[in-house]
Every structure is written in structure tokens, then in C-alpha cells.
């Protein structure tokens, strides 16, 4: 990724710095304006969930086409709701990766055109850094260093945020993402998409120890491996189905969706919390934050809150609406890059596999 680095001359002015953020990495088209990286002025999100629901997941080409249709109206609305004019914008921040390449390109192209037209810096934001930055919008006091658990349909990372643009990867998934397990298992039991909220809803009142699931550990590493959990859960489901067939019953009579969902959820939450607690010990971080779509899960919030209380560290959890993909978090992350003069030029391209450690 090519970047120009020219330290911003300290701007001595009374008005805040306004960054316009653009996010199109998956199935949300979003534009937002954030002041000084901390205060949301406007945040417009157009979701494609309805569009992809019948397919049991995001259909990449459909997603790109939908982004093309909605990106300009969404940007216009974000500007209009802010009460500002484009001339008041100090920089354009856009998610340049990781994500679906076709979807990312829509946002990147729009951001480049806009930056060129209004003659403002273009800032490439890593999507995971964006998720982490959602915490700056929720706690105005939050400053690095801190530890972040980033969990979504595509990620399961533990990141040590050394400084606003300095990240160390402590752990990542070696196979499936946390949300991916929810999505795939929800589909396997015929509960639909997106899996995370559905599993969480079904899990209520279910037995969270209905069957044993493995807690895979990787030698000398805090990395996650959720593939084994997924496979073991599918095995339990298959066994229940076979037993049901033999007895002329339905699978739900042997293993209810409720118990299945509760046990899967509890296992994932236990694994995430255990690794996060280990990471805290290693880094001795005094503040822990959550980020990403799966951090909207209330059981995860509860378990991490308990863990943080026990070890006596501060916990910051973003508002639920800022956990899932949105452009306000991109604008917030973009502000800190803007402040440090980390700009991209108009040759910026989208990168489907942009690792946080490559920032």
C-alpha cells in the first residue's frame, strides 16, 4: 500500500477537524462524519441483510452492485444530516481492506473521486483498525495502549494497540472466524442468516452445557481454532438426526435448537474470554476493549465484564450499533491517521487481505 507521510502542521483553529468516512467492505454501505475522531456528527448505514437473507450469506457480486446503487445517496445523506458543506470536510477516510474486493472497490473509488474533487487528503483505513476505533467514539478518555478483542463474521483477533496507528497482533484465528461458526451452524440447523443474532436469540433459556464441545488450544500460541468446534457441533447435530430417524422422531425432540444454540454460544464465548484473559496477562494491559459484530453478543459482553472485574482492568464496550460495520468508526480511525499526516495518493487500491500487522 503506497502512502505519503507528511506530518500535519499543527492546525490552530477553533473548529473541530471533520473527517468523512466511507465503508463498503461487506454488506453495509455507510458514510459518516466524525469530529476530532471522537464525536459522531452523522452516521448513515444502508444494510443489505434483506437482500442476502434468502441466500444464507452475503453474495459478493450482488453486494458490489448494491453498493454502487447506494453509495452516492448515502454519502449525500451523511453530509446533509451533518449540516456541513463539503468544503468543511478536512479529509476522506475509506476502508481499503480487508474485505470483499468488489465491494471495497466501490467505496475506494467514491472516496478517491471525492478527495480529488474537494482537494482534501485521502486516508486508507484498515477495517479492523476501524472496528477498534469504534471505542474512541464511545469513550472520549480512551487512549492507547489497550488490548482489543476484534470478533466478527470474518475475524477473530486479539490486538495490542500500542499507539493510534501502531498495532501488534497477539492472536488470530487459524481457520474459521468467530462469527463464521455462528453463520455456518445457524445455516446447518436451518435457522437462517445472519447467524450471530439468531444463535443469541435462540440460546436464551437453553441449556448451555447440553453436550461437550472441544476448546482447541494451539501450542505456544494464543491463536484461535474454531474449525474443530464447528465440526464437533455438526457431529452432535448429525448424531441427533440419525437417532431421530431411527426412533421416528424429529431432531428437535432429541436436541432442541435452544440447547444447541446455547451450547455453541457458551463454548465460543468461553474460548474468546479465556484467550483474552491470557493476552491481558502477557501484555499487562490495563484497559480491554471489544470490537466487531460478534461483540454485540450480550453473553460475550457479560463474560468479558466478569473477567475484567475479576482481574481489575477497565473494560470498554462499544454501543451495539457501532459494533457492526459503519463508517463512523472508519472516520474515527481516519482522524488519527490524518493527524499524523498518513495519507494515500489517488493510486490507492483495495486490498482483500490487508493484515493489521502490515499497517
Amino acid at each position: 500500500m503506497r502512502m505519503t507521510n507528511c506530518k500535519n502542521i499543527a492546525v490552530d483553529r477553533a473548529e473541530p477537524i471533520y473527517i468523512l468516512g466511507i465503508e463498503t467492505s461487506c454488506d453495509e454501505t455507510s458514510a459518516a462524519i466524525v469530529a476530532d475522531g471522537r464525536r459522531i456528527v452523522s452516521n448513515v448505514i444502508a444494510s443489505q441483510i434483506d437482500l442476502h437473507q434468502s441466500y444464507g450469506g452475503v453474495v459478493p457480486e450482488l453486494a458490489s452492485r448494491q453498493h454502487v446503487k447506494t453509495i452516492l445517496p448515502v454519502i449525500e445523506e451523511a453530509v446533509s444530516l451533518s449540516g456541513l458543506t463539503l468544503a468543511a470536510i478536512d479529509g476522506i477516510a475509506v476502508t481499503a481492506g480487508p474485505g470483499l474486493i468488489g465491494a471495497l472497490l466501490v467505496g475506494v473509488s467514491a472516496a478517491k473521486a471525492l478527495a480529488f474533487a474537494i482537494e482534501r487528503p485521502l486516508i486508507a483505513v484498515n477495517h479492523l483498525a476501524g472496528h477498534i476505533a469504534a471505542n474512541y467514539l464511545c469513550d472520549s478518555e480512551l487512549e492507547p495502549p489497550f488490548l482489543a478483542l476484534v470478533v466478527s463474521g470474518a475475524h477473530a483477533h486479539i490486538v495490542y494497540v500500542q499507539d493510534y496507528s501502531d498495532y501488534s497482533l497477539i492472536a488470530r484465528t487459524q481457520d474459521d472466524a468467530a462469527g463464521e461458526v455462528f453463520d455456518k451452524l445457524a445455516r446447518a440447523v436451518g435457522l437462517g442468516y445472519p447467524g450471530g443474532p439468531i444463535i443469541e436469540q435462540k440460546a436464551q433459556g437453553g441449556n448451555c452445557k447440553a453436550f461437550p464441545l472441544p476448546h482447541p488450544l494451539i501450542k505456544d500460541s494464543l491463536d484461535f481454532s474454531f474449525s474443530g468446534v464447528k465440526t464437533a457441533a455438526l457431529n452432535v447435530l448429525n448424531q441427533a438426526e440419525q437417532l431421530a430417524k431411527k426412533n421416528g422422531q424429529s431432531r428437535r425432540e432429541i436436541l432442541s435448537d435452544k440447547d444447541f444454540a446455547a451450547t455453541v454460544q457458551e463454548t465460543i464465548v468461553e474460548i474468546l474470554t479465556a484467550h483474552l484473559s491470557q493476552a491481558q496477562k502477557i501484555t499487562n494491559a490495563r484497559t480491554i476493549t471489544l470490537a466487531g459484530g460478534v461483540s454485540a453478543n450480550l453473553r460475550l459482553r457479560e463474560a468479558v465484564t466478569e473477567m475484567a472485574d475479576q482481574i481489575g482492568v477497565k473494560l470498554i464496550v462499544p454501543d451495539i450499533k457501532l459494533c457492526t460495520d459503519n463508517a463512523a468508526m472508519i472516520a474515527a480511525a481516519g482522524y488519527f491517521l490524518w493527524r499524523d499526516g498518513i495519507y494515500s495518493d489517488l493510486s490507492l487500491n483495495a486490498t482483500a487481505l490487508w493484515e493489521l500487522s502490515e499497517i
Binding site: Y55, V59, E61, Q174, D175, D176, K184, S227, L234, N238
Partner: protein, 153 residues
């Protein structure tokens, strides 16, 4: 066409077999991987990647569709695809993914059935069937005569 089949008892065994398969592969080869959720498709690719010594870590490409691993010391790149979320061959072509097949790397595609028509006739077809909790029958169909029997230790 040769058909080759064996039983793998564990995920580790599947990955180890894939490492030995990697020794028979050359740039331009395409592997089509099919099998239910949790059958071991990503595990198999991780075994391949390890032996090929490619860069970057193998993970499920379900979200990004493609994980592009640059060549390491053995000089062969690995393109790891997942067609799980594609609606068919049109999306495959529209995304320009067919160009990877002709590129100078090894291509492995999970859920390849979705885009079967787009794959060349010399594709190595690998099916993973779940026999038990960990046991899998792995069946390879290949028009090439390279000695698949040497992959069994």
C-alpha cells in the same frame, strides 16, 4: 482417469496426506475440494500450504472468497478459493477468478461444485466424506497419471 481413495482417521492425517500430495503437484494444477461443512477442506489446504512453503497463514476463505499466498522457497504460489458464497459460475467469471487458474501457481477451491463448469478437465477432484466424528473417506479423481499411491505413507 485414475480414482484413488483412502480413509483418514484424524484432521492431522488429512493435512499430512495433503503435504505428500503437494510433492506431486506443479504450477498450474487445480484442486477442486468438495465435502460438507467440517469435512476438512481447509485442513487439507493447510497441509498443502505447509509443504509448498507459501507465505501467509491459511485460514477459511469463506468471507474473502480468495486467500492469495505468495510463493515461498519452493517458488510456487497458492490461490486458496472458497465458492461457498458464490451463486454460480457467472460470479466466478465476473470476479476475474478464472484468470488465477491459468496463472503460474497452484489453485485449491473449496465448495468447487458450485463452479464446476468453470474448471478445466484436468482438475484434480477431491471429495471428503464424513464417516464418523473424525474419520473421513478421501477420494481423488484425476485425469493425470502422476503416482497418487505414493501419497500413502
Amino acid at each position: 482417469m485414475q480414482t484413488f481413495s483412502f480413509i483418514s482417521k484424524t484432521a492431522e492425517e488429512t493435512a499430512a496426506w495433503a503435504s505428500r500430495l503437494a510433492d506431486l503437484l506443479q504450477a498450474g494444477d487445480v484442486l477442486a475440494l468438495d465435502g460438507d461443512l467440517g469435512a476438512g477442506k481447509t485442513t487439507l489446504v493447510s497441509g498443502l500450504a505447509r509443504r509448498l512453503g507459501v507465505k501467509g497463514q491459511v485460514a477459511s476463505p469463506t468471507f474473502t472468497l480468495l486467500r492469495d499466498h505468495e510463493a515461498g522457497e519452493r517458488g510456487t504460489a497458492l490461490y486458496h478459493f472458497d465458492a461457498y458464497r458464490l451463486s454460480g459460475v457467472d460470479e466466478w467469471y465476473e470476479s476475474g477468478f478464472d484468470e488465477y487458474i491459468t496463472a503460474d501457481g497452484i489453485t485449491a477451491i473449496e465448495w468447487a461444485q458450485v463452479i464446476r463448469e468453470a474448471l478445466p478437465p484436468e482438475t484434480i477432484s477431491i471429495t471428503l466424506e464424513r464417516l464418523g466424528a473424525n474419520e473421513r473417506r478421501i477420494t481423488v479423481n484425476w485425469s493425470d497419471a502422476r503416482p497418487l499411491h505414493t501419497t500413502i505413507s
